[in-house]
């Protein structure tokens, strides 16, 4: 799932400075689940904007709305408020939603209310952690299910660096060294042999190297074209 965090209010207020009437638009999927971009957060954010506007004497008014996903065009039918009626939309979807909605509503500025941070899982009540980087060439089969791209600060492929220290990463002493975890996991699986194999340099063109990535399911896309 995509995880995102709300941008600092100062930044949001600065972004919105040119606009008077703003719609805060929530997304009912990933960002609802990680409690940052759901309808309730949109409601709170709209309130905060209205309170800030009053306190700072700004000519700004915010409403809120929510659709199931901002990354599918059909759901815009469920909007109860129309972007065209606003000077700008502050989308609290992930970057995908902001970008996609911008395409669908070319006449209305869509601004990001969140910073899209990672693909993560819910590790404890109210806590999410990164698990995947979306590199386009998955290695989890031989790393015991632990992603060295996402969870090693340096995305190393052939074991830990020299900065590993008592199981922690030199980049952040609070962070586990992914390679120690991989080692321990493989050991318990009896698959330490996986590490004897030298891994060639990764094909990063499958990551972002060749520009915008795309998925096409021929069987459906042909029907539609």
């Amino acid at each position: 799932m995509i995880v995102a965090e709300r941008k600092p209010m100062d930044e949001i207020l600065e972004m919105l400075a040119p606009y008077k009437k703003v719609l805060v638009l929530a997304c009912g999927s990933c960002v609802t689940v990680c409690l940052t971009g759901g309808e309730k957060q949109a409601e709170e954010l709209a309130s905060m904007l209205n309170l800030a506007a009053r306190a700072k004497g700004l000519d700004l008014h915010a409403d809120f709305d929510c659709i199931t996903r901002q990354c599918d065009r059909e759901f815009i039918e469920n909007l109860t408020k129309q972007p065209a009626d606003y000077d700008a939309v502050l989308s609290i979807a992930c970057g995908v939603g902001v970008g996609f909605m911008s395409e669908l509503f070319p006449d209305t500025p869509f601004l990001p209310g969140l910073n899209t941070t990672f693909y993560g899982a819910n590790v404890a009540d109210g806590v999410w952690a990164e698990y995947c980087h979306g590199c386009g060439d998955c290695v989890l089969a031989w790393t015991g299910g632990i992603c060295p791209i996402a969870r090693c600060s340096k995305s190393l492929l052939n074991g830990s660096c020299g900065g590993t220290n008592q199981g922690k990463c030199e980049v952040d002493p609070d962070m586990d060294c992914a390679w120690l975890k991989i080692y321990q996991r493989l050991e318990s699986l009896g698959q330490l042999d996986n590490l004897r194999k030298l891994r060639p340099p990764k094909d990063w063109s499958k990551d972002r190297g060749k520009g915008v990535r795309r998925l096409t399911h021929k069987e459906l896309s042909e029907l539609e074209s």
């Binding site: 009912g28 409690l35 309808e39 309730k40 309130s47 306190a55 819910n122 009540d125």
Partner: protein
């Protein structure tokens, strides 16, 4: 009503989520013959709003004050709270509000125009008056003819005053009359004025609601002796203050509630020995267990499984009753079919006999008319209330099996619908369907509900009460009333998931202190488990959960209204968890704190971060949240949740450069008015200092 899953589109069709209450009923409501909205009125009482409560009751139950005293309370028997600790004392709560408000303290919904047909109602008992009231509300002009000198039927003339003072009956009768119901007392239909004549006098329909006006007797030797009383005549004479002679040694024949009334009245009239003899054994006796117990406490003795054979008279005086042994009362099909052993006959000494073996219809009103009757009962169609004559209807005990006041009211109300359809030229079709009833509370949930003892009704000791006809059970005091009403779990008023909004995020499952939600495809909250604390509603990131028992924006609207009323200057909103607060506090009658609008609700568990921000948005300069500490609130984890939400709201304010001090928390809602006042005052100082 919406069936199955609730969607955004369904919600858009509703005026308020409160309409969702019609999806399922609590068993208390279902069990009540008139289907009074028990949960709703108990909530009003819990909030100290007696007026709103009695209005909700009277919506369905015209004999609210009478039932507050004498109802056999099937609502209570069905109350789900019995699986937690004990049933809610619903009847006592009804008694309190009905008598506190009297006839004038409840709303009268008399239509502006009452120009529809005139309808004659015969009999001013619960059934007749209920029918007349409904007809008046529909714009008809009902006139009720009553043979007795007072209106109210059996409750006014016969039920002993120690259980039901006449003033209490008058409350209901006066309120009913205020709707344009005309009552003519002292007129017996059949004698002089016949039904045929009534119709000639311009009454377009007639409702017969004459009840069971005669007592049954037994064709045994000496049954006509002057010291043999028939129960209705006896009780009516007692109620009229005539103190009939009961001698020293009374034998009441019968084991029902009416027999108990006769026996206990005989005790109060000064009889030395009072015995009740019945065919049934203790378990089979139809009298309510509490009636038997109270009678026993007052010295009434019971002779079970004996049937009367002959009243023994010597020198013109009754000296005893010959009674044979009963071998069985009911046959295999559980039908009443007593069998006797004539070889086992005893003499029971007595000087007075009261027959309390049942009542029957007095069909005197049929005289001179065309109404048909069979085996002593008026011919009638239960589905439509029609008799054999078009335009003549019947309701109440004249046609139904003997029952209770509330059942007679239900019958009367239903009959009014039939009369209305008839007079509107429609075919008579009455929809008796009711919503499904919510199930019993599962043990795992019941365990987590805060236990609170059921109130005990202040009652005079038997020695004191048996010497007079004064009421011996007393009305609860206000504190007891609030505490008891707050025991109601508000069944069926809990959370509903809007399935198309739910993101299956699992938050509700994680925060619910009762472990109710499960997330399958989306979150599922079972109504028989949900305790309506509202914690999940306040936390759901998708705003995908709504309460059934209140409008989603209820608090926001109340806040706006309160702010509008607060005088100019600094305006502070105080949200107070009212589980331990007084009626004066809830109702805004306690001494106000200048500049502060106090808003009470069942628990701060329902107060979300958006609401705190909305209050400021609506113009409040600050918000004070006063919660009950954990363990004293009605819901677990409330204090902890409330604290976290206040902290979050304060952080958000800090982020936009407003002072976090605008939102304050005090955990003193359980400590009484002075502590609450003091806490709010301190919080106001912090808010205004910033």
């Amino acid at each position: 009503m919406i069936d199955g899953d609730l969607t955004t589109r369904d919600l858009a069709r509703l005026k308020s989520t409160a309409e969702l209450m019609a999806r399922e009923w609590a068993p208390c409501r279902n069990g009540c013959p008139v289907h009074a909205d028990v949960r709703a009125y108990l909530q009003c009482i819990a909030e100290g709003d007696w007026r709103a409560a009695i209005d909700v009751i009277r919506e369905q139950l015209p004999f609210a004050a009478v039932c507050g005293r004498v109802c056999h309370h099937p609502c209570e028997d069905n109350c789900r709270r019995q699986d937690v600790d004990e049933r809610v004392a619903i009847r006592e709560l009804k008694r309190f509000v009905a008598e506190t408000q009297g006839a004038t303290g409840c709303t009268v919904n008399k239509p502006k125009k009452q120009d529809k047909a005139r309808v004659a109602v015969i009999g001013a008992g619960p059934a007749g008056l209920s029918a007349a009231l409904e007809l008046a509300k529909l714009g008809y002009r009902p006139t009720v003819f009553e043979k007795a000198s007072v209106a109210g039927g059996i409750p006014a003339t016969t039920i002993p005053r120690y259980r039901l003072p006449l003033e209490v009956v008058r409350i209901d009768v006066d309120w009913i009359c205020a709707h344009g119901v005309e009552i003519v007392t002292g007129v017996e239909i059949g004698k002089g004025k016949t039904i045929a004549r009534l119709r000639g006098d311009g009454f377009e329909a007639v409702v017969i609601a004459t009840g069971l006006a005669s007592s049954r007797s037994l064709p045994i030797p000496n049954a006509d002796h002057k010291d043999v009383h028939l129960v209705l005549d006896f009780l009516q004479a007692v109620s009229a203050g005539e103190a009939p002679n009961v001698g020293q040694n009374v034998l009441v024949i019968g084991g029902g509630n009416v027999a108990m009334d006769a026996a206990r009245s005989a005790v109060r009239l000064g009889a030395k020995t009072v015995r009740a003899m019945c065919l049934e054994n203790e378990e089979e006796m139809p009298a309510w267990s509490w009636e038997q117990e109270e009678a026993r406490d007052e010295g009434v003795e019971f002779i079970h499984r004996r049937g009367p054979v002959e009243i023994i008279v010597k020198d013109g005086k009754i000296v005893g009753m010959k009674a044979r042994r009963v071998t069985r009362v009911f046959n295999e099909q559980k039908k009443f079919d007593p069998q006797y052993d004539d070889s086992d006959v005893i003499d029971v000494a007595c000087d007075t006999v009261i027959f309390a073996i049942g009542q029957m219809a007095d069909l005197g009103f049929i005289e001179g008319g065309e109404l048909a009757a069979e085996r002593g009962r008026l011919t009638y169609t239960a589905a439509t209330h029609e008799t054999s004559v078009a335009g003549v209807f019947a309701c109440g005990e004249i046609v139904t099996p003997p029952g209770s006041v509330v059942e007679a009211c239900a019958s009367g109300r239903r009959c009014a619908k039939a009369v209305d359809q008839f007079l509107s030229g429609k075919s008579i079709q009455i929809d008796d369907s009711t919503p499904p009833v919510i199930d019993t509370i599962p043990e795992a949930t019941a365990e987590k509900v805060l236990k609170v003892d059921r109130v005990t009704v202040p009652t005079d000791a038997a020695e004191k009460r048996k010497t007079n006809f004064e009421q011996f059970e007393h009305t609860l005091d206000e504190a007891a009333v609030l505490r008891e009403a707050r025991r109601c779990m508000g069944c069926g008023g809990g959370a509903e998931v809007i399935v198309d909004k739910c993101a299956a995020c699992l938050t509700c499952l994680r925060v619910c202190p009762f472990d109710i939600p499960v997330v399958t495809d989306v979150a599922r909250i079972e109504s028989d488990k949900c305790q309506a604390c509202g914690i999940c509603i306040a936390e759901c990131p998708a705003n995908a959960i709504v309460p059934r028992s209140r409008a989603v924006d209820e608090l926001v609207r109340r806040t706006a209204a309160a702010l509008a009323k607060t005088p100019k200057g600094k305006k502070i909103i105080a949200y107070i968890g009212g589980f331990r607060c007084t009626a004066d506090e809830w109702m805004g009658r306690s001494e106000p704190i200048p500049g502060v609008a106090e808003l009470y609700h069942a628990s701060t568990s329902r107060l979300g971060v958006p609401e705190l921000l909305h209050a400021l948005e609506a113009g409040a300069d600050g918000v004070v949240v006063v919660s009950c500490p954990d363990g004293t609130d009605r819901y677990p984890t409330t204090a902890t949740r409330t604290k976290k939400r206040v902290e979050q709201a304060r952080e958000l304010l800090g982020e936009i450069g407003l002072s976090p001090e605008k939102v304050q928390l005090a955990e003193t809602a359980d400590k009484g008015r002075d502590a609450v006042r003091e806490a709010i005052r301190e919080a106001v100082v912090k808010i205004t200092e910033e």
